[in-house]
Symmetry: D2
Subunit: 321 residues, 4 copies
């Protein structure tokens, strides 16, 4: 049973009965350092949340007065007025929608919460835009390699990404019905125009990403297979070294010395697991990267709580799975 | 109930209780032009086959005397002596194993049965090596484009391929148990050394393939997403035109005018469905191809029966689904 | 490609883009004796149907003038005006909704289309109410045993039934989303008040059914496990004999001599497979029956076409899978 | 990282790479009160276990000297010599196999570890036979009702049970391959002779159980639907009251006031959730019970750790999920 305390920061979750909101509550339920004091849901008001003793409630902006930090887990587009209200009320915000991410046109004054890359800015931020699930794996794979000059930016970087269906949200849609998805697998967003590309390009200027997402018949998890054009002399071992240095202090990014991660290694966790592989038989040096994460973990709720930890001065990995 | 006839060619299936053999029998059960007269299986001898009235039997080479053509559906490696026995007995052979495919070192005198590309040779052949499931989608996507000079062979061609688990066969393995695969997804064969590459490279000399297979939590179906480096001036429309001309007479290869195929469009059929897409935001012209087929259909049994049709002088698409 | 003919009866399908309507079209696509000339769908008008060359169309009652028989595959409640319009137009009707089934209060003048039991009446009928999916397995299991006096009607007959999710229709609902159903299994309709009981009780007067349905994480198929109280001296062999006699001429009901059917044996077919088993260790003689069918096959579209065959004077099993 | 301590009891797990052993290690990994010091596996020796810092090892009886309590997670039949060796060494044993359960003929001197029913005996036991997964739900549903005289033992009690495939173990078998189980559902053990019946009958003498298990296409979870013949005047409310009293102190048995549990409510937990429902339209009073548990949780590892807690004098619910 959850018992509020005066000494712990208080947090609220807006739009808490979608897949993202439920997962934020699941992480918070196991987090010793904060008190989740309300969780809003219009459709499930009165029903139980994953936090023992806490019921969903249908609250408005007035609820902001009761918390130190709020998570926005609304449908894309609906976070804008909540962000304004929270900032006006002096409440810190972690926005899990796409509304204030790089490329949205509404990211002024909002820190992009890719925790491992912008931790210092996050720690001092009032408002954080939590990254998208697909961009998390791509950006954390590439950013340190780009910074270290390992990538050959004359060549494109094909990313074949596959996600479980919770990535598409919990609103009823015919194409997401069990009988439609079971036994199926498909590419979507063809043409290299997926909206997540804005966010990736903003963080990885100069790189030519070719991003092809696919829908997996599993509830959760993302696996991204990147074809990596590297400059002469760079091999998998060198990439691994750069990653290890970049993520030495991260509580959730793991680099495999051998083998590749699968979804089973990451679902229901907040980890991102990376592997990199040399390839035979190609003229220009080209590696393969595999990045695995839970779209609801490091791809959403886990990263949101990681950001919250920094914003509230808690231990970086506190409560993470 | 199956009723043999003197007027129809007689066929046998060796190793008929694996996934491939069972599927050959399913196609033959609906084929009006041939008589399946025996189907061997050591483990299921006496049990029913998908052909009404036909039971599995445990027969040796003597059974060859009763047929005009035989399908070899054995584990890889076991087809060599059967191939010799069949040829000695003057019986035509479609070998569904990898034992006589290009790159195997045992392909002398055996025609590679990629039906759409080598139909004339197949029609006159005594022995045909049926292509692998993954190579079928890759080779049929690329061969006509390469022949037409559309591909930029200085750049690699990354292929992210995903297959259902029947592609790994029906022998018990811990990693293929239901509880291991359910909810999972993984890349395998990393390093660009998958054995199917031998076959692809033999048919597509000069191209730099980078092949990364993945295991899907579905029983059947293959989806291959190819990143296609093309020469200046080539776009998706041009690729579609070349494909349409190349496959105008194929009973099973379909080219989509819009959208992309998904597994549901092809499983339990003998079709291969192709789509091609222009991409935004890349400096060198680069298209995306999606190829979908059933690994047991066009990727195995469907193609085997398509080859049989040509070898026996039947209609090209007879009995195909 | 579908080619209409003057010599074959013409049929239409109303509400053809739901799971039931799509399956009727799939069966009709392989049926040599009739011409499907239109298939209505508001949401998918213009799109392709499973019948080659036939597109969905948004038609009203005027379309009835073009057909000899119409299938109603609407949401429950919506078939009443179509039934009236069809009968006024002299068009035969197979209604796949619950609107005119026994117990509906609207079954006057409509024959209950449990084909094996009421074939003669079906053959002469203008309007047929196609049975529900769950009742099909229960009624065909029990009706001949009840008629032969084998059942002890003083004891209840518990039926534990499990169905794939297409049984719940194709309208978007949160509880039928892939991520909700995957890995789950649940009982529903507890309390013995499921609406299908009206239909079962009407056909099986005097029996005390205790019906508990469950939702399976599969797209299609029904398995029903019945606990059968029988009178002294009755055993499984006797039940098998009575079934065999009752269903000797049925093109789709199969009785197993040993073992029990599983979903895999029946999905994508129009069969109903029955098995019966003696039980150890009980004081009063009590058997177990397992009935397996595809909810979209014998449980809906297969049975509808079987009824159509009789109504139009075609061969009983024509076009069935 | 796991750090051994002198103050906590030390435990070992024999046969730890099967599904049951892995789950025992997962529970122990989150248990603050004991130290898992070794976990044996011949096939995975050297590989990582779910306990951070602990690798699988291939050890024999000598390892018993290092622990206070040992869990036996071997294939059925293999626990007998380990039980003897452990007792000779003065090490407490929780045997998760069927080898020493009631009805095995080897249960002399071994306490049956149905924790809620025999807690006192467990607390003083050297050796405990952990119950089977199916019997756990059936026995805990029925035992207090039988003791309170609520059941009409003249009538049989049909139990339709369904289990995920981990219940069948992790040894490779063709019928448990992903492609065989996906989309399927079947009854098995027909005839009322399932070996788990010995255990149920030993604990529930005088009741006529009719037990029909089914295999679900999910990795884990058991749902049991019982048809409950009760004496005149007994209804669902009365059953609920008896259960509540019986399980008032259990850390893991929950009684629902309304609705019924589904697999999702219990998988990856150590809970058993019960519901009971009145039924319309039957002549003799007959209720329906739904019992849900994780076959690897309360059905195996959870219960084993619950027993360990009592045997070692720890808090009853410590470490349970």
């Amino acid at each position: 049973m959850h018992t509020p305390s005066d000494s712990r920061p208080r947090v609220g979750v807006v739009g808490a009965s979608g897949y993202t909101g439920l997962e934020v509550l699941r992480v918070l339920a196991g987090h010793p350092g904060v008190d989740p004091v309300w969780a809003t849901s219009r459709s499930e008001a009165g029903g139980p949340t994953p936090v023992s003793g806490l019921a969903f409630t249908d609250r408005g902006y007035d609820a902001l007065a009761e918390v130190d930090l709020v998570f926005l887990c609304l449908p894309h587009g609906a976070a804008v007025p909540w962000m304004e209200a929270a900032r006006a009320a002096g409440v810190r915000v972690v926005d899990l929608t796409a509304d204030h991410r790089p490329g949205s046109g509404r990211d002024a004054g909002v820190v992009y919460g890719m925790t491992e890359l912008h931790g210092e800015a996050v720690a001092g931020a009032d408002a954080v835009a939590n990254p998208g699930c697909y961009p998390t794996g791509v950006i954390l794979s590439l950013a340190p390699l780009r910074a270290a000059g390992l990538l050959d930016d004359a060549r494109p970087i094909p990313v074949a990404a596959a996600s479980g269906v919770t990535g598409a949200g919990r609103s009823p849609r015919r194409d997401l019905l069990f009988a439609e998805v079971h036994g199926d697998y498909r590419a979507y967003g063809l043409g290299n125009g997926h909206r997540h590309l804005l966010e990736m390009r903003a963080e990885l200027p100069g790189l030519q990403l070719l991003f092809v997402p696919h829908l997996l018949p599993v509830p959760r998890g993302i696996l991204e297979t990147l074809t990596l054009p590297v400059v002469e002399g760079v091999d998998a071992a060198r990439v691994r070294d750069v990653w290890r240095e970049a993520y030495a202090t991260s509580p959730v990014v793991d680099i495999l010395a051998e083998g590749a991660p699968s979804l089973r290694d990451v679902v229901h966790t907040d980890r991102l697991v990376l592997s990199v592989h040399d390839n035979e038989g190609l003229r220009a040096p080209t590696l393969t990267v595999v990045a695995a994460l839970d779209n609801l973990g490091k791809g959403a709720a886990g990263q949101a709580v990681q950001n919250m930890n920094l914003m509230l001065g808690l231990e970086a990995g506190e409560g993470l799975r």
